[in-house]
């Protein structure tokens, strides 16, 4: 077998070695926002099921989801959703082989951060 040095090779540098940079932080945030959206998904489905089950229970859950804490979680979920969506767009662009140099990736990173805030503000204004 050609590969005789198994398990004894240097590891590639990981989080503890690299200085944080825009590319790594925006990528990590895509993962965090995607998984955190589970909270918003559970709340929305709970709200849907409450709506189907009757007016009284709907009032309880609707009150929960539109309380100050509920509003914060829902607004945060909207921000996470837009950020994750723009991160997905960046991946779709990268998958075509474009914008893979550092300068372009940095520009897309800032576009994700600023774009997600703008889109969240527009969403909150629209609804």
């Amino acid at each position: 077998m050609a590969d005789v040095n198994r398990g004894n090779r240097p590891l590639s540098p990981h989080l503890t070695i690299y200085r944080p940079q825009l590319n790594s932080i925006t990528s990590i945030l895509v993962r965090i926002t995607g998984n955190a959206l589970m909270v918003g998904a559970i709340l929305v489905v709970w709200w849907l099921m409450a709506a189907a089950s009757g007016a009284a229970y709907f009032g309880v859950i609707d009150g929960l989801i539109t309380s100050v804490l509920g509003d914060l979680v829902m607004a945060g979920s909207a921000l996470a959703l837009w950020y994750h969506a723009l991160g997905g767009v960046r991946h779709l662009i990268w998958d075509t082989g474009r914008a893979l140099d550092v300068a372009s990736a940095d520009r897309l990173g800032w576009a994700m951060i600023i774009g997600s805030v703008v889109l969240t503000a527009l969403t909150l204004i629209a609804i």
Partner: protein
């Protein structure tokens, strides 16, 4: 140096083929979700905090019901595969298996719960 063959080292770790399938499924579902997200946010965001009767009236119309149903089905499939990546990156062994089973149940359970609710509202 361990006395194992190359075949033994990689067996059970999954093939590049299924990884390619996972990546492609994420690509397809992400495009679908991109198209649906603005409509989903306007529909659900606009209905949160509205009177019960208005919520039922809106969600029993075909287009809002279709958007929410499609978003739940595609979104929860996407969520399941995304959480699978997270779990496979950070856990191994029994906790990985339990995590994968639990997130699969949770994701498809949420999609099913939402669909049943929509059906109850529409009918």
């Amino acid at each position: 140096m361990a006395y194992v063959t190359d075949r033994k080292r990689v067996t059970g770790l999954g093939s590049a083929r299924s990884g390619t399938q996972q990546h492609w499924t994420m690509t397809v579902t992400s495009v679908a979700l991109l198209l649906l997200t603005p409509f989903f946010l306007v529909i659900i965001g606009g209905l949160l905090g509205q009177p019960h009767a208005d919520v039922l009236a809106s969600l029993s119309r075909p287009v809002p019901a279709l958007v929410v149903a499609a978003y739940l089905v595609v979104g929860m499939h996407h969520m399941r595969l995304g959480m699978q990546v997270l779990i496979e990156d950070y856990t191994r062994g029994l906790s990985r298996k339990i995590g994968l089973i639990a997130t699969t149940i949770l994701c498809y359970g949420l999609a099913a719960g939402g669909l049943v609710a929509l059906a109850q509202i529409a009918l």
